[in-house]
């Protein structure tokens, strides 16, 4: 997957979890949870959706690396390059 595809996929996952939130205005360098309402259960759902869709496992110690949209892309790019 390309960076753009990864980004689109993450936004798609977020929209599925919080359909009422507008994800088009997200600043990619700010913490996602500061911009839209996502509680800790929702955040874990993002991780589980990634596992479900792409079979990627994100260990708990890496959760902080998924804080912003850009950091998500950077973290996931090597894991998703063949998908």
């Amino acid at each position: 997957m390309t960076q753009e595809e990864i980004k689109a996929s993450i936004l798609d996952i977020i929209s599925e979890i919080v359909p009422d939130e507008d994800t088009s205005q997200l600043d990619p360098d700010l913490r996602i949870r500061d911009q839209i309402n996502l509680d800790s259960m929702d955040f874990l759902d993002i991780i589980m959706e990634l596992r479900k869709r792409y079979k990627v496992e994100v260990p708990e110690e890496d959760y902080p690396k998924l804080a912003t949209l850009n950091s998500c892309v950077a973290y996931l790019e090597p894991l998703l390059k063949d998908k």
């Binding site: 599925e16 979890i17 919080v18 359909p19 009422d20 309402n37 509680d39 259960m41 929702d42 874990l44 759902d45 589980m48 596992r51 479900k52």
Partner: protein, 466 residues
């Protein structure tokens, strides 16, 4: 070992469906076993003389509008991938708590209750606001080893007028307390929010619509649901559920078993119960309810605009198993027509009358006497309600009464104890390794409570655990 299913859920009530949706959504092989021919459990629906009646529905508590994102209702919707609009909730109009000396009204706007208390209990309003800020959190419910804190004691610290304490306890106890006389403060806090801070609503077309929505979601996500499938025994071997025996003779196995049928009920399904585990006792709190169908709408023809009315005729509100078959000194009167928007669609009026009841006494009656006492109880309820809905008795065209015996027969809840045992299992874990309990006996009651419980247990012990 390769199992046919990873998870078996016993019971397609609200908690079982919620747990099932979570598991199926994330691709787990899951099957729900339901002994009835229909889903919904304690809050299902049934056909009655050409109508569809809700088993129990007075109100979906915890109602908040779509814009409130942090409330339990919103969190449940996100977890189940449903939208607020799917539920088609109609908010209440106004509800009342009526005691001999005073009356309080409340709506889904908490400020109205604060104003009411300021008007009627001026010396108490500061304490009431402090109480509101000191309510316990959901998280505290599942903190291990927590001792029960008496809600009555805590209330006394904030409020000096015993009448106000009784008046606040009345709706809260009726809508979710499994204990006699007093209740756990964490339970009190959760229910306080769900009733007063948040509020009441009703799915536009009743429970059938809500249950269908959940069943569809579950099945679309790949979950399997078997009706008419009663679990007869759980065979325990080396501290685990090794086999699930069905009444039809089939034997099933799974890595994890989630039971929603209640803790004492689950225990009695188990072939063995570890000596170190407590023997859970069934709860004593049970109810009778009469559903009256009327030839008119209460707000238009009888001047009754209240959605839910809680009354109590004594100085102190007595919440315990009554000495007689029922206790009509207190009760709940719910009028489903008095939710916003209902009247454009209903032609028939509906009133539900609820009282505390004594399971043991009801269960001893023979068939004839049982029928006679049901009629007697209906007359007594209607008489009591006529103070508030004048002329009610003359407008009844049909009615159905259920007792704790009915509840036990249809849902298998021992003693018809709607709110389960006081011996809750806060984190859902039992002493048997792969057996979890969710729903009422995990500690969360009501429709929203049961949904949240199913979600939490599925997340914590299956989805997050793996």
């Amino acid at each position: 070992m390769d199992y046919e299913y990873e998870v078996l859920i016993i019971g397609a009530g609200l908690s079982g469906l919620a747990a099932g949706i979570r598991l199926a959504h994330f691709g787990r092989r899951v099957c729900i076993l339901e002994k009835q021919v229909r889903a919904g459990g304690l809050n299902s629906w049934y056909p009655f003389q050409g109508r569809i009646l809700d088993v129990g529905l007075h109100a979906v508590t915890n109602y908040v509008p779509r814009s409130v994102k942090s409330a339990p209702l919103a969190r449940i919707l996100r977890q189940l991938r449903l939208s607020h609009d799917d539920l088609r909730l109609c908010p209440q109009r106004i509800s009342r708590i009526i005691f001999p000396e005073k009356e309080l009204s409340f709506t889904n706007d908490f400020q109205l209750l604060v104003q009411e208390i300021a008007d009627k209990f001026p010396s108490q309003v500061d304490g009431f606001l402090k109480l509101t800020n000191s309510l316990a959190d959901y998280a505290e419910l599942s903190s291990p080893g927590r001792e029960m804190v008496s809600a009555r004691k805590v209330l006394k610290q904030f409020l000096s007028d015993p009448l106000l304490i009784e008046m606040l306890l009345c709706p809260i106890m009726f809508y979710g307390n499994c204990r006699e006389d007093d209740m756990d403060f964490v339970q009190f806090s959760i229910l306080f929010r769900s009733i007063f801070t948040e509020g009441f609503a009703r799915p536009k077309l009743g429970m059938r619509q809500l249950i269908q929505l959940l069943v569809d979601k579950y099945q679309e996500s790949g979950g399997e649901l078997r009706y008419g499938c009663q679990v007869h025994k759980l065979i325990i071997n080396q501290g685990r559920v090794a086999e699930v025996h069905l009444a039809n003779g089939r034997i099933m196995q799974a890595k994890v078993i989630i039971s929603t049928v209640g803790l004492p009920e689950t225990r009695s399904l188990c072939s063995f119960w570890p000596a170190e585990a407590k023997e859970p006792k069934p709860g004593e709190i049970a109810f009778v309810e009469s559903i009256l169908m009327l030839d008119c709408l209460p707000s238009q023809s009888l001047g009754f605009e209240t959605t839910i009315l809680f009354y109590n005729d004594t100085e102190r509100f007595v919440y315990r198993k009554p000495n007689g078959l029922i206790d009509s000194l207190s009760g709940v009167i719910c009028c489903p027509n008095n939710y916003q928007e209902d009247e454009q669609m209903s032609t028939e009026g509906l009133v539900r009358l609820t009282h505390l009841a004594n399971f043991d006494l009801w269960s001893r009656l023979d068939q004839d006497e049982y029928r006679r006492q049901k009629e007697h109880c209906l007359r007594e309820s209607v008489e009591k309600a006529e103070r508030f809905i004048r002329g009610l008795g003359r407008h009844i065209v049909a009615c159905d009464t259920f007792t704790p015996r009915t509840i036990q027969r249809f849902t298998a809840r021992q003693k018809g104890a709607v709110y389960g045992t006081p011996d809750k299992l806060p984190d859902g874990r039992t002493e048997i390794k792969n057996l979890y309990v969710c729903g009422t006996d995990q500690g969360l009651v009501g429709i929203v409570g049961a949904l949240l419980s199913g979600i939490t247990v599925a997340n914590r012990w299956v989805l997050y655990g793996a």
